[in-house]
């Protein structure tokens, strides 16, 4: 405890870095997964191919991805951009299926009504299908957020600064307190992401709490 209090500044700095490395890819991944999921939901022929391909991305080991990306992107090995890109890939892998499922879950009579009322494909996506898919997409985002927070810590192995440093450093110095501090900080960060996503989803979906009169 004393150790943690003595290193509060360091922990806070690394937590903020960790939050960026896990959070920014969540946004990028969602932006990429939305059109992909939309395609998968609209074109039954594409669905299997798209979802299998994006799903497989998740099986690439993170360490391998961190090392493979620099030559592909032309970045330096220590560049945090590598981590952001890798985490975005994982987010896309997790969210494409969620988005597709969320969009497909919209009641068919609602979809038909939207078409019959003269919505074009994009307007229908933005005004009807997407808002109705928010609860499903938010659930997927929560999983992706936890997964990102956890995987980002691996990046300490390639020297990118974040909370994972306490795990590797504590292990190297056989100093369990530091490892525990790292674990607890990761947990709290994941919890913070979870709360934020739930709050945003709540604000976007007032109708789900409408109690039948």
């Amino acid at each position: 405890m004393t150790w943690a209090l003595d290193h509060l500044d360091d922990i806070a700095t690394r937590a903020v870095q960790h939050a960026w490395l896990a959070g920014l890819p969540l946004v990028i991944g969602l932006v990429v997964a939305l059109p992909l999921g939309w395609l998968a939901a609209r074109r039954p022929g594409w669905r299997a191919g798209l979802l299998t391909t994006t799903g497989l991305l998740y099986t690439i080991p993170s360490l391998a991805l961190f090392i493979l990306l620099p030559p592909l992107l032309g970045t330096k090995i220590l560049d945090p951009v590598n981590v952001v890109v890798a985490m975005s890939v994982y987010t896309v892998a997790l969210l494409t299926r969620t988005v597709a499922d969320g969009l497909s879950s919209v009641d068919s009579s609602t979809q038909q009504a939207a078409v019959a009322m003269g919505y074009g494909p994009f307007a229908r996506f933005r005004s009807v299908d997407l808002p109705l898919a928010v609860p499903v997409i938010a659930a997927g985002l929560r999983v992706a957020a936890v997964s990102n927070v956890s995987i980002v810590s691996v990046a300490s192995l390639i020297g990118v600064s974040q909370l994972g440093y306490f795990l590797t450093d504590g292990y190297a110095r056989t100093f369990p307190t530091e490892v525990w501090v790292g674990i607890v900080a990761c947990l709290l960060l994941a919890l913070a992401f979870d709360v934020v996503i739930q709050l945003v989803s709540r604000v976007l979906t007032p109708w789900t709490r409408a109690v039948p009169a």
Binding site: D107, S109, T110, Q112, A113, A114, V115, A116, M117, G118, Y119, G120, A123, V128, P131, L132, T205, P206, W207, A210, V211, P212, A213
Partner: protein, 381 residues
């Protein structure tokens, strides 16, 4: 006017087309039909008769394989599809409301798509919400907070919001209970008499078709038009066994709904008021005595022998129907048949009792009407 000209819809490789050479994949077969301006045209038929397919070809949710559909002389295939749809009101079973939007925002959908400003669209929507019989306080609610009947009203208001000349209605009242359905049907007819939309209405319920339609198109399986006629003609003169079977039993009786009641001499009925004493009731001298309310409206029959101290609501027989003096022969006959005393209760426009009539007095009116129709038919020939 919506006009179908030789419209065919064929589905390739539909199940079951191996046994009868592709005919089974025909959803609509060479349909030629006109839905006149300002009238309700009902498409009715069993499952698989292509009625919904026919409806959806009008707003191009489904593309016909061949033939043309025109609205007021303009071929729908030549119009921009989004514009076409925004100009056609569409009401479906279970309403198909947007669950994430309030009632008000549901109703403003099409005007907003057409670019009407928010304030004007909302003002018009509030007007419509009241017009379809909803409490304005419901405007802020979400669809999940409404009953099925209320949702269906919102569906109608939403379809009317941009004041389209044409409306397509696909079994709009079939997902609600019978009492609500009848209410919705009556209000729909009242609304239509004000608005005069050109309506194409799909149902599988012949009673609904006959009640709502200015003309009824009966389709048979495979999408072939079997008969297009007024409801009265359909009941009186089905073209073949299929239509006769589909139109169903009791059609002689049901056809009376389209025969206006002639001037019949009604019998004056002695009445008692609610709360009348046993002595007053027995003084009338008949086993069943009609009870009326304060405004002279009939409330029910009471059995004189059952009254111990005074006439209360619980003692009243509630089975009898009340016919309007300006109503149909069917309503008159039904009032007589359903009355425990055998005397059918007839009321005026305001609901006040005007007299009673027996079935034996209605029958001659029915027969003389038929004789008159037969004589007319003879001179026509």
């Amino acid at each position: 006017m919506i006009r179908f000209e030789g419209v065919t819809k064929r589905y390739e490789g539909a199940p079951g087309d191996d046994d009868d050479g592709g005919r089974a994949s025909l959803a609509v077969d060479d349909l030629t039909l006109e839905a006149p301006t300002g009238k309700i045209t009902v498409l009715v038929g069993p499952s698989g008769c292509g009625k919904t397919t026919t409806l959806r070809m009008v707003n191009r949710m489904i593309t016909p394989t061949s033939g043309t559909i025109s609205i007021d002389g303009r071929d729908t295939a030549s119009l921009d599809v989004a514009e076409l749809r925004r100009g056609i009101g569409y009401v479906i079973q279970a309403a198909g409301l947007f669950p994430h939007r309030t009632v008000l925002d549901n109703v403003t959908t099409v005007p907003r798509l057409l670019g009407t400003d928010k304030k004007a669209a909302r003002a018009r929507a509030m007007e419509l919400i009241e017009r379809v019989g909803l409490d304005p306080a419901m405007a802020r609610r979400y669809p999940a907070q409404l009953s099925g009947g209320q949702q269906q009203r919102v569906g109608v208001a939403r379809a009317l919001a941009a004041d389209p000349p044409v409306m397509l209605m696909d079994e709009p009242f079939s997902a609600v209970d019978p009492v609500t359905r009848e209410q919705l049907q009556n209000e729909f007819l009242r609304l239509q008499s004000d608005l005069g939309k050109t309506i194409l209405f799909v149902t599988h319920d012949i009673d609904e078709a006959v009640k709502l339609g200015d003309q009824v198109a009966v389709l048979r399986v495979g999408g072939v038009l079997a008969q297009l006629d007024s409801p009265a003609r359909l009941l009186a003169d089905p073209v073949d066994d299929f239509v006769a079977g589909f139109v169903g039993r009791d059609r002689g009786y049901r056809a009376l709904a389209f025969a206006a009641a002639p001037e019949l001499s009604l019998t004056e009925e002695p009445t008692v008021r609610l709360g009348a004493s046993a002595a007053e009731v027995r003084a009338v001298g008949t086993p069943w005595v009609l009870c009326v309310g304060d405004a002279g409206e009939p409330v029910g029959w009471v059995r004189a022998a059952a009254v111990e101290s005074e006439v209360t609501l619980t003692l009243l027989h509630r089975g009898g129907t009340v016919a309007s003096a300006a109503g149909s022969l069917r309503a008159l006959l039904d009032a007589a048949l359903s009355s425990p005393s055998g005397r059918g209760v007839v009321a005026d426009e305001e609901g006040r009792l005007v007299g009673t009539i027996r079935a034996s007095e209605v029958i001659p009116a029915i027969e003389s009407r038929r004789d008159a129709a037969a004589a007319q038919g003879a001179t026509a020939r």
